[in-house]
């Protein structure tokens, strides 16, 4: 077995964990913000997918990877807007609307892709990396972790920014209160609907960037349904992380490692049937849920519509 843990294998595994993990992390982080504010955002899969499409479209036409990520964020928010209007303002079921938005985004992006790219399947050029001095020359982890596209560093930075916002800003307190006891937030003179709306829009933006990452950095191409449940894994991550952004990062890297094990094991030349290897991420999700699912603590007001004065 020692042959398995070659440098090439480890580098490939860590690199894969990061590439597959970053979109999961962005989705999980976004979902965490929504859930903290009391919104169960099932539509996040749709937000990711639409972000992937929009990100690819913009990057393809402008040639700018950064404009692509911006497009991805806007695309994710475009799906978040109906979620905010229908669920938070009008009080419709968050689960029904979330599923509808996901299905809608899947259909719409597949259709748009069919008309625009189905003949040509254009690819984006590989994204340039930004090696971090000194760190990138470390063995094994150096090239895998510290010679990555700048967006990777920004995404990881977002985890710490989010942790800071949660802990040390009024907005963080407002998010927490909106999910725990919205009536108390209202009584403190903060508009619960506005806090939740902003939370859902941020979720849309992060999920959209996550989707764009999959299209621009991960695959270099947009194909229909390419997010393939990443948004739903993000929901699991958010629920397991109990309000802590750093836990989302750790969980996302773990799932990312499982997802990328296929490639890594092939690199290592191990002959396990690929069907077994491809089950890994889902087995990991199940294992995590069995081990920690019962301890997950969700905000008391999660999924409920806030009406002033109603008890």
């Amino acid at each position: 077995m020692s042959a398995l843990f070659t440098d090439a294998f480890l580098t490939s595994l860590v690199l894969g964990a990061l590439t597959a993990g970053i979109p999961l992390m962005l989705a999980g982080l976004g979902e965490q913000i929504s859930e903290k504010a009391g919104v169960l955002n099932i539509g996040i899969e749709g937000m990711m997918l639409f972000g992937a499409y929009a990100g690819f479209l913009v990057a393809y036409h402008t040639g700018s990877i950064w404009l692509g990520f911006l497009g991805g964020a806007v695309g994710g928010m475009a799906v978040a807007v109906p979620m905010a209007v229908l669920c938070i303002r009008m009080g419709l079921s968050q689960i029904v609307i979330g599923i509808a938005l996901t299905l809608g985004a899947e259909g719409l992006t597949a259709l748009l892709h069919h008309f625009q790219f189905a003949q040509s399947y254009p690819r984006l050029p590989a994204v340039e990396t930004l090696p971090i001095p000194v760190l990138s020359s470390l063995p094994v982890v150096g090239p895998a972790l510290f010679d990555r596209p700048p967006i990777v560093y920004l995404a990881v930075l977002a985890v710490f920014v989010t942790a800071y916002v949660f802990r040390a800003t009024q907005f963080g307190l407002a998010l927490q209160a909106a999910g725990d006891k919205p009536a108390a937030l209202d009584a403190a003179g903060v508009d619960v609907v506005r806090v939740r709306t902003i939370a859902v829009l941020i979720t849309g933006g992060l999920a959209g960037v996550g989707g764009a990452f999959m299209a621009e950095v991960g695959a270099g191409i947009f194909v229909p349904f390419m997010t393939n449940g990443a948004g739903f894994i993000g929901i699991v991550l958010a629920m397991q992380a109990r309000g802590k952004p750093l836990w989302v990062l750790c969980g996302a890297l773990l799932f990312g490692a499982c997802l990328s094990a296929t490639t890594a094991l092939q690199v290592a030349g191990v002959s396990i049937p690929t069907d077994v290897i491809q089950m890994l991420p889902f087995a990991a999700v199940l294992t995590v849920l069995v081990l920690f699912g019962r301890k997950a603590s969700l905000p008391p007001a999660l999924g409920t519509h806030y009406v002033r004065g109603a008890r």
Partner: protein
């Protein structure tokens, strides 16, 4: 001045006539089908605990809602310092110096005390935890309480959470503090502490509004008492009068205000003739029920055939727990229940019913019926699977329909068809169907839980008639009601429940109203 310093300066100093901080100028608030507040007027003076006293549904919470910005009056106005204001939101109420401590905590359990107080600042600013802690320490010292600003609210007791809310209101500059049913969930010790705290607040010149339905608390904590009844203000006792009256006379006056006058009882309320000498049919001995909110302790009651025993008391004093334990829906901790010589306490709901014990629940839609099921099936809800309506597990539509048609006719249930889902009927007709189910067959004893709650006048009359008829047929009847008029009208004897115990049983004679009122209010308890 050689006099000792007065405890409440505004009232003992005749030279400075007190000016109210807040005036409610004949406010009216309507909700669909009910006038919650009908031209209610009152004043709040600085340095005074103003008690709002009244039964559930008297309109206390609505009045508080209008002061705290949760509701706005349909008619009438609110004046602060003699200027008309509109209190459109809780935030506006705070700006105007009105702080409210609601019955249900308005703190975020997962945040610390300091964070709860800091909540509501500009979004991207850092919560000023150190500053909050400093100001908190000062207010806490002023009013004599101790609170750890770093403690998570969820770990504090309810009494401590109330203190946090009071401190928060004061930190925001409240001159008026509203305590809505603040003692409802507190232990007796906690309530006493809160009373003492109210006294200290008034010495700082705060106007305190204290809402309660407990007369003893009103008398011991209050300076001025306003009594509400069915949405109307029925009386106010000013501080000078309250002091002059003394506790006994004040109690009598408040009972008269809260529960109506002694005179003018309805004409058809002729006391039922009791049947002296009959052996009790239903005997309850030492019944005790565990409950986190209101444990029931050692209830001893005996009901003779043909007798109606009224069980009066303010809502939430263990009546529901007692009734459910009797019906078999809750385990007993101790006690015996004997019906016509048979012990019931070890039997389940179905077996107790088979022995003739019936329970008409007050939760008609929740546990009494299944809204989506046909009336015919709801009439058999407690006999599912029994012959002749079911045979070998198969229902017998003919028998079920015949049974339903008979009961619908007998009990005058107004319904388009016996197949109509019962949830589509009016409350009165649902109650008729429930009565039909519980009073038919071999009933021996019936427990009615708030049988006329939420019904209109005609259905109230019809239901009361059914209760009388049940007793006339020789059934033993326990009538649980929070409506004292109803208990006085129907009962032969009246037991009063308070804090989970029967605090007294009185004959329903001319003096019953006053005696029951005293027992209910906990004055003699």
């Amino acid at each position: 001045m050689t006099q000792p310093a007065p405890a409440h300066p505004p009232h003992n100093d005749p030279s400075a006539a007190p000016r109210p901080i807040v005036t409610l100028d004949h406010v009216t608030k309507r909700f669909p089908g009910v006038v919650a507040n009908d031209r209610v007027a009152f004043d709040l003076f600085p340095g005074e605990v103003h008690v709002l006293l009244g039964e559930n549904g008297a309109g206390k919470s609505t009045l508080v809602g209008m002061l705290s910005g949760l509701q706005t009056p349909d008619e009438g106005g609110i004046l602060i310092d003699h200027r008309e204001v509109r209190i459109a939101s809780p935030a506006r109420a705070l700006e105007l110096g009105i702080g409210t401590v609601f019955q249900h905590s308005m703190l975020v359990p997962s945040l610390s005390v300091a964070d709860n107080m800091a909540l509501g600042g500009p979004w991207w600013s850092r919560p000023d935890r150190a500053g909050v802690a400093r100001r908190m320490a000062q207010v806490c010292a002023d009013i004599g309480v101790t609170i750890d600003p770093a403690a998570k609210v969820g770990t504090l007791s309810l009494g401590e959470q109330q203190q946090v809310e009071i401190v928060r209101a004061l930190m925001r500059g409240s001159r008026v503090l509203i305590l809505d049913e603040a003692t409802a969930m507190l232990t007796p010790k906690g309530a006493e502490d809160l009373g003492a705290l109210m006294g200290r607040l008034t010495r700082l010149g705060i106007a305190v509004v204290f809402i309660t339905h407990k007369l003893n608390e009103a008398l011991s904590f209050g300076n001025r008492i306003t009594v509400l009844r069915l949405g109307r203000k029925v009386g106010e006792i000013a501080p000078e009068r309250l002091a002059a009256l003394g506790p006994a006379a004040a109690t009598a006056e408040i009972i008269r205000l809260m529960f109506g006058t002694d005179a003018g009882a309805p004409a058809d309320a002729a006391p039922r003739r009791a049947r002296p000498g009959a052996a009790p049919l239903l005997v309850i001995e030492g019944l005790a029920v565990d409950d986190p909110a209101v444990p029931v302790e050692r209830v001893d009651l005996a009901v003779a055939p043909g007798e109606i025993l009224g069980l009066a008391g303010i809502d939430g004093n263990g009546q529901k727990q007692f009734a459910e334990a009797l019906a078999g829906q809750r385990p007993l901790r101790a006690g015996r229940i004997t019906l016509a010589g048979t012990s019931l306490e070890r039997l389940d709901v179905g077996a107790r019913r088979a022995h003739g014990l019936r329970y008409v629940t007050d939760d008609r839609l929740g546990e009494g019926t299944i809204g989506g099921f046909a009336i015919s099936l709801n009439l058999l809800l407690k006999q599912v699977g029994e012959s002749p309506f079911w045979r070998a597990g198969f229902d017998q539509p003919e028998a079920i329909a015949a049974h339903a048609r008979r009961l619908v006719g007998e009990f005058d249930v107004r319904t388009p068809s016996i197949e109509t889902p019962i949830g589509k009927l009016s409350g009165g007709n649902i109650q008729k169907a429930l009565l039909a189910r519980e009073l038919s067959g071999a009933a021996k004893a019936v427990i009615f839980a708030k049988p006329t709650y939420g019904l209109d006048v005609n259905n109230i009359r019809a239901t009361r008639q059914r209760i009388r008829e049940a007793a006339d047929r020789g059934l033993a009847v326990i009538l649980i009601s929070t409506d004292l008029e109803e208990v006085l009208e129907l009962s032969d004897r009246i037991a009063v429940m308070s804090r989970g115990a029967v605090v007294g049983v009185v004959e329903n004679d001319a003096a019953a109203r006053g005696r029951v009122g005293e027992l209910m209010s906990g004055v003699t308890a």
